[in-house]
Amino acid sequence: MAERSFKKEVQQLKIGAGEEFRGEGILAITKALLESGVGYVGGYQGAPISHLMDVLADAQEILGELGVRYEANATEASAAAMLAASVHYPIRGAVAFKSTVGTNVASDALANLASGGVTGGALVIVGEDYGEGSSIMQERSHAFAMKSQIWLLDPRPNLPSLVKAVQDGFELSEASNTPVMLEVRIRACHVHGVFTAKDNKAPPLTVRDALKNPQRKTDRIVLPPAAFTHEQEKVKTRWPAAVNFIRDHKLNEMFGPKTGKTGIILQGGMYNTVIRALQRLGLANVHGDSAIPLYVLNVTYPLIDSEFLEFCEGKESVLLVEEGQPNYIEQAFGAMLYKARHKVSLSGKDYLPPAGEYTGAVMVDGITNFLRDADPAMLPARHRAPNKPVEDKTFDDLVKTVPARPPGFCTGCPERPIFAAMKLVEQETGPHQIAADIGCHLFSIMPPFEIGGTTMGFGLGPASNGAFDGGGDKRAISIIGDGGFWHNGLTSSIGNAVYNKSDNVIMIVDNYYSAATGGQDILSSRADNPTKSTQHPIADALKGVGVKWVRQIDRTYDVTKVRDTLKEALTTTETGPKVIVASSECMLNKQRRERPIQAKAIGDGKRVVKPRFGVDEDVCTGDHACMRLSGCPSLGMKSLEDPLRDDPVASIDESCVGCGNCGEVADAAVLCPSFYRADIVHNSGRFERAMARFSQRIIGALQNRRAKNRLTFGEAA
C-alpha cells in the first residue's frame, strides 16, 4: 500500500489504440511497456520512478490479464538480475530504479547481463535524480553504460518521445543483443502531458510458457572462455549492429536548417531547455522551429560517428550541450574530429558550466556567449539576452531574512521521538560516533537533532561503523531503517556486525514501510498485502543471523523507554552487537489509512476518540526547549498581546495528529507543564456523558468558589 493510490491512473493503462492518454511522463512509460508486449517488469522504488512501481503494484489485475509478471524486487540488484530471463528466452523485460544510486547497487548484475548479452529485449529505466530536488550524490548514469557497454537512451522530455523511446529501446536491445538503459530526468518523470495510445500487447512468449521448455546456452554464461568471447562480440558484432539500427531507424533527430555557420548538439533530455533559450533569443518559434541546426542525441551511447561528422560538415563551430560531468560525449566527439582531421571547432563546457544542472538561465547565458563568438549576427546589437531580469535587483536584507527550509520529519512522525531520545542520551553521556543510513531518518542530521555523521548507502549504516566494531571507550551507534534493513542491511550490516563480534549499538527505525520512497510495503510491513508476503518481524530475522541482544520497542513515542533502552544498550556487558528495533507506523501512511475509516465511524455514530495536543500559553515561558527536541511542523510559535512578555510562546495548530511526542518529551526531558492532551470523544455513550456532566458540575463549582473570593482579570492577566 503506497502513500498515493493510482487506481485512477491505472484505468488509463487499459485504453486502446487512438485514445488519448493524459498524465505524468512516468505513467506514459508504464503504458508504453504494455504496448511493447513486455513479458515481465520489476524494479525498486525511489524518486523519481516511485510512481512507476506504485502504478504497476496497483495494476496487477491488468498485468495478470496480459500474462505479464510483476516483481517488486528487494533491491536494484535483484531487479537487474531478473533481466536474466531475457538472456536465453525471447521475452522482453523491463526494470526501473533511481539512478545513480540504484545503478550502483545493480551494477554487478548489469555487468554480467551485458557481458553474455540478451535474446529478448532488456530495458533498464533509470530515473536520473540530478539537479534541483535531488536527494543523492550528483553523478551520471552515462559511466555505467560505457563501462558495461549498455546502450543509453536520453529521449526528449515529452510524452510521445518517451513512449517511442521505450519501443525503440526494446527493438535496439534485440537488434544488438545488448541491454538498453532508458534515462529519464526527474522533471521528465513528473511532466504532465498527452499522447495517443496504442493497444496493449500480450507477450508472444510469457514467462509461464518459458518454464515449460527451459533453455540454456553455455556460451552465454560469464565464465572463461566465454567471457573473453563476449568482450570480442561487444566490439565486433553488437556495437556495429547497434550503430546501424540507430542510424537506419533515425533514433537521433535533426531540427532546423540543413546548413549553417553554427550548430548545436544536445542530449535529448536537454531539448526543451535549449529550445526555450533559442525562443527567448528569437532563434526559435513556440513550436520549436529553429533558426540554428540542431542535432538531438536521443541515444547518447553509442555515438554515431557518421551522423556527427555529417552534421559538422560545412559548419565553423558547433556547441555541445551535455549536462553533468565528466564530459564523456565532448571527449568522444573531440576524438572523432581529431581522427577525421576535421576543422570545425567544438565547444561545450567552455561556454556552459563544467558541472551542475543546466537550468533555463544557464542555457540562455551559455548559448548567448557561444553565439557572441561564433555567429554574432544571430544576436541583437545589445549582445545580450533581452529577457534577463531588466533590473537585476537583489534585496540584501531579504536574502538574510528568508530561512532555509530543508526537508524534515512530517507532523507526528514516529522517528522524531527516537532522535529526541538519542539527543537526551547524548546530553547525559556526551556525543557518540554515530553513522546514519538512507531514508527519512536521515533527516536526523539536520537541526534540531544534528545526529549522524555519514551516510554510505542504503542499508549500510551499521556497516559504515565497521572500523569501530572492535569497541573502545564509548560504543559507536548506527541507524538503519526497515527499508535499508531488507534492501541489504540484514547481510551487509547486521551479518557483518555479528560475524565480526561488533560491540556497537544498532538502532533500527521500523515504520512499517519503505516510507521515504512513498510508503511501499516491505517484508516486515504489518499490512495484509494480497499479492506479497508481509508481516515478517525484523526481530526474528535478527535472531536468525545470530544477534543475541535484541530489544523490540513497539511504541517509539515512548521517549523515556527509547532513551532507557538506548542507555542500556550502551552500557550492557553483553557481547556482540546490541540491536534496538524501534517500531511505529509512518504517520503519513497511518493518517491516509485511518482518516477515512475514522470519519466513517464518526458518521456511523460509533464512539471515536480524537487526541490533539495544546499549549497553555500562560504556563509556557517561550524558551522553546520543546522545539529543540521536536521540530514538528504543527508545533509553532505565536506572540501574546502582552507587553510583559518578550518571546513568542509555543503553539500547536490544528494539523496536530496527537502523536504524543510533545507530552512524552516534556516528561522525559523534564521540560515544562505547558503541554496538555485533549481527547475529544465523538459519539460518547450516555453513561459517559452523564459522568462527564457530573464531574464538570463539581469542578465548575470549585472553580466558581475560588473565582468568587479573588480578583480576576479575565483572560488577559
Partner: protein
Amino acid sequence: MSSSENTFQAVAGQDQTKNIIKLAILAVGGQGGGVLSDWIVDVAERNGYHAQATSVPGVAQRTGATIYYVEMMAASDRDPVFALMPAPGDVDILIAAEIMEAGRAINRGLVTADRTTLISSSHRMFAVSEKIVPGDGRADSAVVLAAGQEAAKSFICFAMDKIATETKSHISSCLLGALAGSGALPFPAESYRETIRASGRGVSASLKAFDRALDQAKTQEPAQNTDQIAPTDSITVPTDLAGPKVLVGKYNSLVKRIQSLPQPAQEIAARGLNKVIDFQDLAYGGEYLDQLEKAAIADQQAGGEAQHFRYTKELAKYLANAMAYDDVIRVADLKTRGTRFQRVRREMDVDAETVMQITEFMHPRATEFCGLMPHRIGRFVESRPKLVRLLDRMVNRGRRVRTDAILPFLSLYLVSGLRRWRRALLRHHIERAHWLEWQARAQKALTTDYALAVEIVLCRRLIKGYSDTHIRGLSKFDRVLAGGDLVAGRSDAADWLRRLREAALLDEKGEALDGALATIHSFIDDTPKAASA
C-alpha cells in the same frame, strides 16, 4: 537521424514566448502544491489551452521548500514546446503558499517588476532554524512584504490560512481563489469552480474557500503583517475586572498609586500590578508598587527625566515577571481555572456538550517539592544530599493528570490552594532574594551609568522556563552580569551588556555568549585597571 524541414527565420533578440503564460508555485511540502498545479492545468485545458506542469518533489515533499511549474498557451494546430523549469526574469505568475516562500521566490529572481503577479498567503510556517532559538528567532515577514511590493508587478497577499481554517478547507483552494481573483489568467471564475467540482473531494469546503479568497483578492487591501507583537502604547489595560467589592476597592486604591509613577512607566506598571495580584494577592501588589516607587525616586535622582524613565518602565515589566515566578502553585492555579477550561474548548473547537478529556504532563522533582516546604525545613532537607536523593526517588517521575476528572483535579486544586502560605515557602525566599539582589545591583549602577542600569534590568529576560531550562537561564543571567562587571566603568559598558544578553539568547548552550565573553577578556586582560574594576 530523422529531420524536420520546419525552419525559422531568426528575429534576433525578439522573445518568441510572449504568448506562453509561465506560472510557478513555491510551497512547503505537505501544503498541496501538487493538487494546485493539477487544478491549474485542468482549468487551462477547460479553456482550450495547451498546458504542461512539472515538479521536482522528491524528498522535498517531507516539509521542505518545493517548486511546481506550469506553462500554458492557447491551443493551435501544432503543439508548443514548453520549458520544464522557471527561469529568473521569465515568470508571469508566482504563487507562494507561505510568505517566506514568496521571499525565496524573489531571491531566486522569479519575481520581476516588469511582468510578475505575485500571489502569496501572508501566514507563517516557521522553519526549524527559527523555532530552536531560545529567544525570538522569527524571520521578519515585514521584510518580505516590503520587497514584494517593490519586486512584483502586482502583489496579492492576505491570510489565506485563516480562510482555510474557517472553511475547513486547504490553502490550495484559497490560492486558486486568489489566482482567479487576480485576473492574471484569462479564464472565467466559473471554469475554476468546475475544476474543483470535478476533483470530487471536499468540494463544498474547497468552493467556500475558493470564493472567499477570490473576493478578497479582488478587493485587495495592502497586506498586513499579522504576526509581530503590537507596540506597547497601542494596548490598553484589560478592564474586565471582577471580584468581591472589598477587594475591588483595595485594588482601585492600588491603581491610584500608579498615577504617582513616572508617566512612561504607568501602563506597564498597571499590567504588572494585575499580573502579581493574579499570581498572589493584593498585598503582593502593594509590595510590587513599593519597590517601583523606590525605583522611581532613584530614577528621578539619576536624571531619569531625560531618559523618559526607561529604568522604572523596564523594572515595572521585569519585576512583575520576577515576582510572578513559575512555581508548582502557579502552574496548578493556571491549570485549574474555569477560564482555562473554556479556552481549551475554544482552541480545540469543541462545544460545551462534547465530552473532552484533558491530560496534563507533570514531572515534579525533589527540587520542586523542597520549594513547596516551609523555607527552614526546605533548607534543612536541601542541605542533606542523601535525603534529597531519597526524596527524588520517591517523587521524581512523570505524572499524567486528568484535570477533567474530579480527584486528579482536586489534587491540583489543593496544590494551588497553597497560594495562601506561599510567602513562607522556600521557593519564594529564593526568588525574593534573587530579585532583591538584582534590583540592588541595578540601582547601584543607576547612580553612575543610567544605561548600564537599564541593561541590568533587561537581563532578567534570560530567566525563564522550568527545571533544567530554568537553571540554564539562571546561569546565563549570572554569567552575563559577571561579564558586565568586567566592563563596568567603561563608557561602552551598557553596550557590552546588551551584546552579551543578545548573545545569550541566540543558542541553548550559550556558545555565542562564551564567544562574546572571550572577546571582552581579550581586551580586558591586558589592562589590569579595568580587570580589577
